[in-house]
């Protein structure tokens, strides 16, 4: 681990530390030099006391939205897809836009916990747990949309190749990207869930041992699977975590590639392009980090964990956001270039229409949020101003939602035959269900930070342990006290 030199606030620890230590001091990812016991207390405390006003306000808003979702979806099932603004020209709009959007959000979690684990990035330790939780809830929201966009969920099981069936037997069409989706999403959800739970077992054990008794103790007792902290288990456990991380990493890259194939394999101008898989993955990570930023900035306040989620964490994430943001911008350019260079009549028209047609405002909003905004993150001031980052993270999510909307609706509303052209106008149900999905997401997340350790205690301890922190701590003293 000492192999990775990590700059603290832009300066190498070597420069900042006045100590004449032969080796580079390890980076510091926890402020306030807490003892192991204190870490446990800090992180477990929120779960043991009544939640604050902030939490209740957030929760009631989120829960209201969730109820609204329930109501609207039941109405949808009762009446039919017609209550949405869809039509013969535009067969997908908010439904699939939301689907792709949420799947995208779902990428950051696994990326942080898996890929950064493989790269031995220690700064992930404070954020990976909540990022994974976010992933799971996001993928839940995403999974909801394919189910409801059919309007008849009781027939959805046709999409699974199951036996016995009395139809001959009739299977499914493995050539259809929608079937790929079903497998990709469910796999991603399962593996992320397992990964998340596995990582939580030691902490569950901690909570079990802290719990006074009663139902809480019992539940943690069951969930922690009798974890004892045995070193023999630890060593197997770390191996398995690495393996899962490897698998999950490949998922991070595959899931959104497959989602992008829903479009790439069709023949619609604006959909039918080979750039989609990498472009979508980058976009997913971009939006995912945006969402992680949003959530962490909120939680580090509501749960006052500034010592664990430090500005340096935010700075890191801001950098990743900026990078992926620029990859996305590059993809936008490439699309236009290949449309012009390819010279296909329909393709060209599509992109002219994207930039000048009736939905041009969506396009420019998207450009503003996804191309212009990230550029501000070049400045360290921007990266370390919590308020600013929060604003950026919101913009990023808006931008990414509109990116999907542009790709889906603008491509559909003016396809090959002009006689089939038409406009899409959302109805209250389109918007309501989008809002509702946020309700579902935040409800889950708020419950999570209320009842489960939102920071991996054992990993923090691992980082803080080995006395390494003592050394780096001294470097802290000359640093400005960053615990905001």
């Amino acid at each position: 681990m000492s192999s990775t030199v990590i700059r603290v606030n832009g300066k190498a620890p070597a420069e900042v530390s006045q100590h004449h230590v032969p080796m580079l001091p390890p980076p510091v990812w926890v402020d306030g030099s807490p003892s192991l016991r204190q870490i446990t207390d800090d992180i477990a405390r929120p779960l043991e006391m009544r939640p604050g006003k902030g939490w209740w306000i957030c929760f009631s808003i989120a829960f209201a939205a969730l109820l609204n979702l329930g109501g609207m979806v039941s109405y949808l099932f009762a009446k039919g897809i017609g209550i949405w603004g869809l039509n013969n020209s535009v067969g997908w709009a908010f439904d699939i836009t939301n689907f792709v959007f949420w799947v995208g959000i779902g990428h950051a979690g696994t990326l942080i916990s898996a890929i950064l684990l493989l790269f031995r990035q220690q700064w992930r330790t404070s954020i990976n747990r909540s990022a994974e939780a976010m992933t799971i809830f996001a993928v839940m929201c995403a999974g909801m949309f394919p189910a409801i966009h059919m309007g008849r969920p009781w027939d959805a099981f046709f999409i699974f190749p199951y036996f016995p069936n009395q139809r001959g037997p009739l299977w499914v069409n493995f050539r259809s990207p929608l079937v790929w989706d079903v497998f990709a999403i469910s796999t991603y959800l399962t593996i992320s869930l397992v990964f998340w739970y596995l990582g939580m077992i030691p902490d569950l054990a901690t909570l079990r041992d802290r719990a006074a008794g009663g139902i809480k103790k019992f539940v943690f007792h069951i969930l922690s699977l009798g974890w004892s902290g045995s070193q023999r288990t630890w060593s197997r456990y770390e191996i398995v975590s690495l393996v899962l991380a490897g698998l999950a990493t490949s998922l991070v890259l595959s899931v959104h590639s497959i989602v992008s194939m829903d479009f790439a394999t069709s023949l619609l101008p604006g959909w039918h392009t080979t750039i989609f898989p990498p472009y979508f993955v980058a976009g997913a990570i971009y939006s995912g980090f945006g969402m992680v930023l949003t959530l962490l900035i909120i939680t580090r306040y509501t749960m006052n964990l500034q010592n664990y989620i430090t500005l340096r964490h935010l700075d890191k994430m801001a950098k990743v956001t900026m990078l992926t943001g620029m990859i996305v911008s590059y993809a936008y350019l490439t699309e236009f270039f290949s449309a012009w260079y390819g010279g296909n009549l329909y393709e060209r028209y599509h992109f002219i229409n994207r930039a000048t047609g009736p939905y041009a405002w969506c396009f420019y909003l998207m450009v503003l949020c996804n191309v212009v905004t990230p550029q501000l993150l070049w400045f360290r001031k921007a990266r370390t101003s919590v308020v600013f980052l929060f604003a950026v993270s919101i913009l990023v999510n808006i931008g990414m939602w509109f990116e999907r909307f542009v790709i889906i609706v603008v491509s559909l509303h003016r396809a090959f035959l002009p006689s089939g052209w038409g406009m899409f106008y959302p109805t209250v149900f389109d918007v309501g269900i989008l809002v509702g999905s946020f309700g579902l997401f935040f409800t889950c997340f708020l419950l999570f930070i209320r009842f489960l350790p939102m920071i991996a205690m054992w990993e923090i301890k691992g980082v803080v342990g080995h006395g390494a922190h003592k050394m780096a701590l001294s470097s802290q003293e000359q640093e400005e006290p960053v615990s905001v």
Binding site: K79, G80, I81, G82, G85, L86, N87, N88, S89, G91, W92, P146, H149, M150, G151, R152, W154, D155, A156, F158, I159, L170, W171, V172, N173, R175, S176, P177, L178, V179, V182, D262, T265, S266, L267, L268, L345, Y346, Y349, L412, R414, A415, F416, L417, P418, S419, G420, W421, G422, M423
Partner: protein, 1009 residues
């Protein structure tokens, strides 16, 4: 549908229970009572024709309308809904002509308008469910129009009266007969005249009844009145030829057709017949005729013309005169002073040139209800020597007999209280008379007014007695659309309600006992028709054959005599010139002219309650559910108006408020508004849809001109959403409709079919057949008959104005209409677009559940019960021809059209599944017909022959623009057409390899310079 198992049953059980309560007792037997008579003789009355319940297999809704008949789900209500008990109730006494589940076809005659096309009507299990043209007819061929196709639905119209009314209250026939008898008696005593006010009547037997009335009642008067009449033409012909008739035209023989505001392909006189002739005369492979159209608004006819010249209504006369001047000069007729050309002289020269070149084989028609114009037109035809060759005055058309003057006289008589008894048959003056108030005030003064209307409409709700007439599918009848061309009408179903045929009423009131129109008709034919024919010795067999074939053509009574030409056409020209001058002075830039035209679907308005027709897009504007004011783009720009802005059109006396529609090709100073809309008493579907423009029309020396002058246009500031089915009219330079010119076609010898594009995949093993279709873009006029035919055949639901505003029309076949060229003078083209049945179908690859796949016979098959509704296929369909069921359109109060009402559902085709919510559907190439034909061939132990299978759209098409058949059968017509050099496929560069191919549109421009 797939969810009907889990949910449908419950619904259907419930509805069944309810329905049993309301309808079973009195009505349900009524449906069947006399079908049984029809089929099995009176003995089996009170029964249900056997086996039909099995049709209950075919769809919740299909089960529901059986429930309506009061038996199928009788038990289901009680037996709980998990596995509903289905009952089957056979006949008590079998019948040899009636096999349940097998359709019978009967020849009959259409009454949708006075054109009286010959029909074959399909009767399935006792219900008429489909109308098709009678291919035997030498006049109409097998084609129909959109309106004719929809007539079967008006049979099942909920708004039809269940029985006669007296003073608005249900009454018995006896009572009515008594009262009418009294009134007629007093009238006979001399206290005023007895008047029968009717639309055009070309039924010889009915005319016989009328003449009986005339004979027995000296003060009897018969007035024929058409909302859109040709009485000026009749008057003009009286003056020019001494014959007050509407001639019969032969467009197929004309080499040059010049139309002056006559929409003969859309609504004028006999559109089906003309459309057929027109197409036959314009086959590009041999010398096609040249068609020049002068008109104000874009009409179906204009959209097909080789040269279309937009002129103001007031310039139609001058144009005719200017043409006459040129022809006269050539023909050496003196006496026409110089006429100022209303339009570009070179164009007129070119037209005159063409006319003169094709003397004797050209035709000038005008729809103008203005005597002077018609006289000039007659003179033109005379000078060109077309009379007797292209224009037949000796076998005139009897399809428009209305007399405007007689009508206005009648209204005055009524107001003077000189009319004692008034019968009204097939007219609705309170709606379509230009001065309804005047008519109604007169009506009040009539001691006894009787209407034969089938519903409470604007007129019949003001009369004393309503004696509802049968729907023509319930009634006997005959017609003589063109002299010596007779056709018969026979009932396919016993009257659904307590109605009585008008003829029977008239006979009864004449004192005939028994007043049985069938016998009367039969006798009439025996005495008059049978006598005049040779060949069939005995009447019975003649009768049977006529009934079976539906039509008889007799030789002329008296040999053709060339009509002598008379009449002072110079005077006519003179008055035109004066009128023009007068108008020039009055005219100013902010004064517009109004051009009122019959709507293609609703015609003069009588079909306003037919949801199929309300939802049929106008062939030109593509607007459904209501009319709008067509305005030229330039004018709209000048006035800063956009589509849907509501404007107030004001004449001197009247005004209407109507949304505008920007119409390319519209004359800048003329505004076109469709008639037939804005009925305020007609029924749920048509109530107050659109605006009634009749009050605006102008009467010139007693003739109802379908136009007005000095019209002012004011903005109201309001704006409405137009329910249009096509929002973009330009092809954006895409190769969608390909065109070629006549020269090119005749010069180029190269065979047009370019080799099929290479495909990535190995060819799959072929099946027995390969169904394919070829559509001739040159023959298609955009008449839209195919659209309604498809709707009727395939149980396509009506979705209503709101859904169409949301671009959710369900029609399986769409008529795309594109414009090219300058927007003030565009060239239009119509393209039927339905599922192309691609061999490499993009929709199939993306369907996750294999709900759509390619059949062994090349059909792109859609399995409704497998579809889970992801809509991915529709997104990936480059032709956008897939239709999604956004809601349940059946048995759903939200969509209160025919499929909501138990009665309306009787029109459903039991052989086609009714789609439920959340399911994708599309053109199936009428696979049910394919399967049926196979089955018939199997029963006959023979191979399928080309032509055994006709898709609904193909059958309905008057121009035979659509050809369906087996591509693997080298001699089939469709396979032959694959070698046409005009053949191409839409978007084939995408590699979809459609089984539908198109034949290029051929342009034959007129050199005007």
């Amino acid at each position: 549908m797939s969810d009907s198992d889990s949910h449908g049953h419950y619904a259907s059980c419930k509805s069944a229970k309810e329905r049993l309560v309301q309808i079973q007792p009195q009505e349900a037997p009524a449906y069947w009572k006399s079908v049984a008579e029809l089929q099995n003789g009176p003995r089996s009355s009170g029964e249900f024709p056997g086996g039909l319940p099995a049709a209950g297999q075919s769809g919740t809704t299909r089960r529901d309308f059986l429930a309506l008949m009061g038996f199928t789900l009788a038990a289901a209500g009680l037996s709980g809904c998990r596995a509903p008990v289905q009952n089957a109730i056979p006949l008590l006494v079998g019948s040899d002509q009636f096999v349940p589940g097998v359709a019978n076809w009967y020849a009959t005659t259409c009454r949708g308008c006075a054109a009286s096309c010959s029909l074959l009507a399909k009767q399935r299990d006792g219900r008429p469910i489909k109308i098709e043209g009678n291919a035997e007819s030498s006049l109409f061929g097998g084609g129909t129009c959109a309106t004719g196709q929809a007539m079967v639905l008006s049979l099942y119209d909920d708004e039809r009266l269940r029985g006669p009314l007296w003073q608005g209250q249900p009454a018995g026939w006896e009572e009515l007969d008594r009262r009418v008898a009294e009134s007629v008696a007093t009238a006979k005593a001399g206290s005023g005249s007895i008047v029968l006010l009717s639309g055009t009547i070309n039924s010889p037997s009915t005319r016989a009844i009328i003449s009986e009335w005339r004979a027995s009642h000296p003060n009897f008067l018969h007035v024929e009145y058409d909302a859109t009449s040709l009485s000026a033409m009749r008057a003009a012909n009286q003056e020019s030829f001494g014959l007050a008739v509407v001639p019969h035209y032969a467009l197929d023989r004309a080499r040059v057709i010049v139309g002056l505001d006559a929409d003969f392909l859309g609504t004028w006189l006999s559109p089906v017949e003309f459309t057929r002739q027109y197409a036959n005369g314009r086959k590009p492979e041999d010398a096609p005729s040249l068609h020049i159209q002068f008109e104000s608004g874009m009409s179906v006819t204009g959209s097909n013309a080789d040269l279309r010249i937009a002129v103001a209504q007031s310039d139609l006369g001058p144009v005719a005169a200017a043409l006459l001047a040129r022809i006269a000069r050539r023909g050496g007729h003196a006496g026409i002073g110089p006429i100022e050309d209303p339009i570009d002289s070179r164009k007129l020269d070119a037209v005159a040139e063409q006319l003169w070149k094709h003397r004797g084989e050209s035709l000038v028609i005008s729809g103008c209800n203005d005597v002077t114009v018609q006289i000039v037109v007659n003179t033109l035809n005379v000078m060109l020597g077309n009379i007797g060759k292209i224009i037949d005055l000796t076998r005139p058309s009897l399809q428009r007999n209305g007399d405007d003057q007689a009508m206005s006289d009648l209204v005055e008589k009524m107001n003077r209280g000189e009319v004692h008894t008034l019968f009204m048959l097939g007219v609705n003056p309170a709606y379509d008379y230009h001065d309804p108030a005047r008519f109604l005030s007169g009506l009040e003064k009539v001691p006894l007014s009787v209407s034969f209307s089938d519903r409470r409409d604007e007129t019949s709700s003001h009369v004393h007695a309503v004696c509802p007439d049968h729907h023509f599918l319930e009634a006997w009848g005959d017609a003589e659309p063109v002299a010596t061309h007779f056709s018969l009408a026979q009932p396919l179903i016993a009257p659904l309600f307590g109605t009585r045929s008008a003829q029977e009423s008239l006979l009864k009131w004449l004192g005939h006992e028994p007043a049985d129109y069938y016998t009367y008709l039969r006798d009439y034919w025996q005495k008059n028709i049978f006598r005049r024919q040779r060949g069939v010795p005995d009447f019975q067999s003649f009768w049977d054959r006529s009934l079976q074939e539906g039509l008889v053509v007799l030789p002329l009574l008296h040999p053709a005599t060339e009509p002598r030409i008379q009449g002072n056409w110079r005077a006519a020209v003179h008055s035109i010139r004066e009128d023009q001058a007068k108008h020039r002075q009055a005219g100013s830039a902010d004064r517009y002219e109004l051009d009122l035209y019959e709507s293609v679907a609703l015609r003069d308005g009588r079909h306003a309650n037919n949801p199929w027709l309300q939802e049929l897009p106008d062939p030109i504007s593509k607007v459904t559910w209501g009319n709008c004011a067509a305005i030229a783009p330039a004018t709209a720009a000048k006035l800063k108006l956009t589509d849907g802005d509501v404007v107030r059109l004001r004449t001197v006396t009247q005004q209407i408020e109507v949304p505008i529609f920007i119409q390319p090709g519209q004359h800048a100073q003329t505004i076109s508004v469709a008639l037939g809309h804005g009925r305020n008493k007609v029924g749920r579907a048509g109530q107050n849809v659109g605006v009634n423009a009749y009050p605006l029309l102008r009467v010139k020396d007693g003739y109802r001109l379908l136009s007005a002058r000095e019209v002012t246009l004011e903005k109201t500031g309001r704006s409405e959403k137009l329910a249009t089915t096509q929002t973009h009219f330009s092809m954006e330079g895409r190769p969608i409709v390909l065109e070629t010119s006549l020269e090119e076609l005749h010069q180029s010898s190269e065979v047009g079919i370019e080799p099929a594009l290479p495909t990535l995949w190995a060819a799959r093993p072929e099946g027995e057949h390969a169904w394919g279709m070829a559509i001739d873009m040159n023959a298609c006029t955009g008449c839209s008959a195919c659209v309604v035919a498809c709707q009727a055949e395939n149980n396509v639901p009506v979705v209503g104005k709101d859904q169409i505003e949301r671009i959710r029309i369900m029609h399986w076949i769409r008529l795309d209409r594109y414009y090219s060229g300058p927007e003030e003078d565009p060239v239009a083209v119509h393209q039927p677009m339905m599922c192309q049945h691609c061999q490499n179908a993009p929709c199939e690859t993306v369907c996750p559940v294999l709900a759509t796949t390619t059949s062994s016979e090349g059909l792109n098959q859609q399995v409704y019960n497998r579809c889970i509704g992801t809509r991915y296929c529709a997104n990936n369909c480059p032709y956008k021809v897939r239709r999604f069921n956004w809601y349940n359109y059946t048995d759903n109060p939200q969509f209160d059209f025919n499929m909501e009402s138990p009665l309306g559902r009787m029109v459903l085709n039991p052989d086609v599944a009714v789609r439920s919510r959340g399911v994708m559907e599309k053109c199936s190439m009428c696979v049910q017909r394919i399967q049926l034909a196979k089955n018939v061939a199997l029963q006959g132990r023979r191979e399928l022959a080309d032509g055994d299978i006709q898709t609904a759209c193909q059958q309905a098409c008057p121009t035979q623009a659509i050809v369906f058949g087996d591509l693997k059968e080298p001699n089939s017509r469709v396979a032959q057409l694959q070698h046409s050099q005009r053949r191409y496929q839409v978007l084939d560069e995408l590699g979809t390899r459609p089984n539908v191919s198109y034949l290029k549109k051929v342009r034959n421009p007129v050199r005007t310079t």
